[in-house]
């Protein structure tokens, strides 16, 4: 129909008709593509027109923080999900029009940074819908990341707060619940090949009326997941935490009035935006760039490029991620752009400006550019259950380019940091536990990623998750009471797995697990970085190494220990794998493993990783090298070969002069073996990705995107603004074809042999 033929009234009528008769209220691009703080509402204009007292605003802000902290503690202490116990949660307050204003001081920023999308959806679609409506005492649930969220394991409870009959703000509580009825237990299905494999998909809907959970809907949800008790319990916990938060905010309203609360929330956003713009303005104008490479789809190895260019001009900052890998239509490592931005917001607060308020206003002044249908701006039917992969990259995307902007500044807001380890290195599990209950979830070891090295000190070992300041790595004894998982080795620092540098990255720990007392139990792991290092170094520091999943299958460790309690000297991955003291099949494979059954006593081994190093290894204080040796973090081989230190290996006393000479010799060797840049580049750079690489993303021009998969003889080059998603072949089909080929070749050989014999 041609709009030009319609009168104004007819056009309005047509628009209303179309709006009233939308067949499906799916994720709304108008909401999902806007990460900015909205213009002031009439209520906010009115509140700010009254010239609020800054001291009172500060006082009210403190009261809100205290209320958020209290509700966070409630969820932390009462939540049934392992994630709640370890701090993988948040409570938050939003303005009446759905802008995230403040979160609990120790909560996971990303959760709240996603939560304003579903709240805006509710405001846009349900408030005026006579079949739904929004009124006092209502509560809404949500988990589908397409409507805003990290991934579908996270469930939020969102509640409007009314005061004297008027909606004044929104409150929320979010927990990483884990189990969600996906095609693999534990809520993070790497095997998901479409969005329909991801488990329950809750668009925002009303599950609470008059402050009561609607039992019919709760039952439906319980019936959709493997852990119905967890589903019920945590819905209650989140509801009551939000209700308590509501009571506290109501008390603030009683004491200070609606205008001061509204004004405080708004000023918090606007002040933060103004401060971010001021900080951008003090940085140099120009562009800094970094490239990140993900090496796995968790089903097969495939290099996926994330290209990042940050441009500063005055108080404008533009983050350009164009040139990144296209999305995968049947792999779960995609993310939608709203989730990706939430991770950017988290990383900015965690690594660059930790002193700023934890609010969406930190990111809202920053422009984000992406190619639609890329792995970081995926759309349509694609799965995104393991969106953690690109989102964790987003958390640390800032470190390298922002350090290059910030190094010059006369004032720093936090220490310059190399990137933290950025993989979800933990066991995801599921099955029947020893109490006869079906369950699925993941272990708290995810929270011990090594910190990147700092400009003045080594990184801290296993410091925190890449996505949050506060989280515990869990208590294994408690986990062993609830699940059949037995820890054979835990929290042992992974020796020699180091991001080397003048200051080294903090290191990760080994995790060695088995299962006992269940006839149906299994594990999966969802990590990249087995072929291409994940955590990058800074200013000459090296990245972390690659990491693998090691296994001993076909063994029952409990039987072996019963026969010979000394059969394993120490549960150390390297020692076990090299010395092979146990019977069974030993393998070292990619860190991405879809769910597989673990027969009692089989051994699974992974590592948390190290943060990137900082600075040239030849500048590392030899005494720090000795300290690493004393603490058994590193072998002598690395002390000599990497750091070039000469010392007495018994006493660990440095020979200062010999070390200086060895380091001078290494500098001479560097000059001898290297080439001038232009000469090097002329030989090094190829016009396209090498044929042997499974490669997705731009190569030498961000406007041209390559999709290359040698396994199926596919090489496609397309314009970045016309990206399409790609299907990957089933690795088992490829393996079958490979084996069939081998069988065919052997058959031909045999036939040739037979016919030669007959002759």
């Amino acid at each position: 129909m041609n709009d030009a033929q319609l009168s104004k009234d007819d056009k309005a009528l047509l628009d209303k008709f179309l709006a009233d008769n939308r067949l499906f209220l799916g994720p709304d691009p108008e909401i999902m593509r806007n990460h900015g703080v909205q213009p002031r509402s009439a209520l906010e204009e009115r509140a700010l027109a009254t010239k609020l007292d800054p001291h009172q605003i500060n006082h009210v802000r403190g009261l809100i923080h205290a209320a958020l902290s209290e509700s966070f503690t409630m969820v932390n202490q009462m939540g049934a999900a392992p994630g709640a116990k370890w701090g993988d949660l948040v409570t938050a307050i939003f303005t009446a029009q759905g802008d995230l204003a403040m979160i609990a001081p120790h909560g996971i920023i990303t959760f709240a940074a996603c939560c304003f999308y579903p709240i805006r959806f509710i405001i846009k679609n349900w408030v005026d819908d006579p079949t739904v409506g929004v009124k006092e005492g209502d509560g809404f649930i949500h988990n589908d990341a397409r409507y805003g969220g990290v991934h579908n394991t996270d469930q939020s409870m969102m509640m409007p707060l009314y005061y004297k009959g008027q909606l004044v703000c929104w409150l929320s509580s979010t927990i990483h619940e884990g189990e969600n009825g996906a095609c693999e237990p534990g809520g993070l299905p790497a095997a998901a090949e479409s969005k329909y494999d991801e488990g329950i998909k809750m668009s925002p809907f009303k599950v609470v009326e008059n402050y009561q959970l609607k039992r019919d809907l709760v039952t439906f949800l319980q019936n959709s997941v493997r852990d119905p008790k967890l589903q019920l319990e945590d819905m209650k916990v989140k509801l009551h935490a939000v209700m308590r938060l509501g009571e506290r905010i109501t008390a603030i309203l009683d004491q200070f009035g609606e205008e001061l609360l509204t004004g405080t929330l708004r000023m918090h956003l606007e002040d933060t935006e103004a401060e971010v713009r001021r900080r951008i303005r003090e940085m140099p104008d120009g562009t800094t760039r970094v490239l990140q490479f993900m090496d796995s789809t968790l089903r097969e190895n495939a290099l996926q490029k994330i290209s990042c260019a940050i441009t500063v001009k005055g108080d404008r900052m533009i983050c350009d991620f164009r040139g990144s890998s296209p999305q995968f239509m049947n792999r779960s490592v995609n993310t939608n752009v709203a989730s990706f931005k939430a991770a950017l917001c988290t990383g900015l607060l965690q690594n660059i400006w930790p002193d700023l308020p934890h609010t969406m206003a930190v990111l809202s002044p920053i422009e984000i550019l992406t190619d639609r249908n890329s792995v970081i701006d995926a759309e349509g039917e694609m799965p995104q259950a393991m969106s953690l992969m690109p989102m964790f990259k987003a958390c640390v995307a800032w470190n390298v380019p922002m350090s290059k902007f910030n190094y010059s500044l006369p004032h720093r807001y936090t220490a310059i940091l190399a990137p933290q380890y950025d993989q979800a290195a933990t066991f995801i599990y599921g099955g029947l536990n020893q109490h006869g209950d079906v369950t699925g979830n993941f272990c708290g070891d995810i929270n011990g990623m090594g910190q990147g090295a700092r400009s003045h000190a080594d990184g801290e070992h296993s410091v925190s998750p890449v996505f949050g300041f506060m989280a515990d790595s869990g208590e294994h004894e408690i986990n062993e009471e609830d699940t059949p998982i037995i820890r054979l080795g835990a929290q042992r620092i992974a020796k020699d797995r180091i991001g080397f540098g003048k200051y080294r990255g903090g290191m990760g720990y080994e995790q060695i697990a088995t299962a006992r007392g269940s006839g149906m139990w299994g594990f999966m792991t969802g990590c990249e970085g087995s072929k291409f290092s994940s955590a990058q170094g800074l200013f000459g520091g090296y990245s972390c190494p690659s990491y693998q999943l090691c296994k001993i299958k076909g063994v029952n460790i409990f039987d072996e220990l019963k026969k010979n309690p000394r059969i394993v000297d120490v549960f150390d991955i390297v020692q076990l794998m090299n010395e092979q003291p146990l019977p069974g099949k030993y393998t070292s494979q990619d860190m991405g493993m879809t769910f597989e059954l673990c027969t009692e006593g089989e051994v699974y081994m992974i590592c948390q990783g190290a943060g990137g190093g900082y600075g040239d290894v030849l500048e590392r204080d030899p005494e720090l090298v000795m300290k690493d040796l004393r603490e058994d973090l590193m072998s002598h081989e690395n002390a000599v070969d990497i750091y070039k230190v000469v010392y007495d290996k018994e006493q660990l006393v440095v020979d200062v002069e010999a070390t200086a000479e060895l380091r001078s010799a290494e500098r001479r060797a560097r000059l001898a073996r290297s080439k001038p840049y232009d000469e090097f580049v002329a030989e090094w750079v190829t016009p396209e990705p090498p044929k042997h690489l499974t490669y997705f993303g731009s190569w030498n021009d961000n406007r041209e995107i390559w999709a290359q998969n040698p396994a199926i003889n596919m090489t496609v080059k397309m314009d970045a603004d016309k990206l399409q998603g790609f299907y990957m072949p089933n690795p088992k089909d490829l393996r079958i074809a490979e084996l069939e080929g081998e069988v065919g070749a052997l058959k031909s050989k045999l036939e040739a042999c037979v016919s030669a014999t007959k002759k």
Binding site: T73, N76, Q77, G87, H106, P284, D285, G286, R289, V290, L291, F293, N301, N351, V400, K404, Y407, S408, L409, P410, R412, Y413, T414, I416, S455, A457, V463, M470, E475, E477, D496, K531, F532, S533, G537, F539, G540, G541, Y542, S546, Y547, C550, M577, N578, Y586, S588, L618, E619, E666, R668, R670, S674, Y677, F680, V681, W684, V685, T686, P690, L693
Partner: protein, 146 residues
């Protein structure tokens, strides 16, 4: 006026040149990619991240795969300090990582005092983690943090 840019690089605004902060060697124009004045070496990642598992038994040994990942090491042509260690797929063009607007930089530093040694920022990120841990440990939630 000289502006620090990285641990090893600074820009001399008067000469508009990049300089090495370790040996004062004058590099190329600050309006160009500083990497063009450095020396580069294509490092096999197994030399840095050495195999920890027996390579006769396993192909994945904690070393990056050298057919997927290379390390480009950038050295000062005079003192050989390593400015950057860039991990790239083989043959991938090196990234042009710092491209400042020198005219704007001059204006920005016109009224600033020169910073000769880098400022060490507070360890806020780490402090926040430690504070969070302390608060978590003080809660009575069924396990100890001794």
């Amino acid at each position: 006026m000289k502006v620090l840019v990285t641990e090893y690089l600074r820009i001399n605004l008067d000469t508009e040149k990049w300089e090495c902060r370790r040996c004062d060697h004058v590099l190329n124009s600050a309006r160009e990619n500083y990497k063009r004045s450095l020396r580069v070496y294509d490092r096999d990642p197994r030399e840095i991240h050495k195999p920890l598992l027996d390579t006769k038994l396993y192909s994945r040994t904690y070393s990056p795969d050298p057919t997927w990942c290379r390390i480009l090491e950038y050295y000062c042509p005079q003192c050989a300090t390593m400015f950057e260690a860039e991990y790239l797929p083989p043959g991938h063009p090196p990234v042009y990582d710092i491209e400042f607007d020198i005219d704007a930089l001059k204006l920005q530093w016109k009224d600033r005092t020169q910073v000769k040694e880098p400022v060490i920022g507070p360890d806020l990120a780490l402090e926040k983690v430690k504070m969070g841990r302390a608060i978590h440990a003080s809660h009575q939630h069924g396990h100890s943090h001794t």
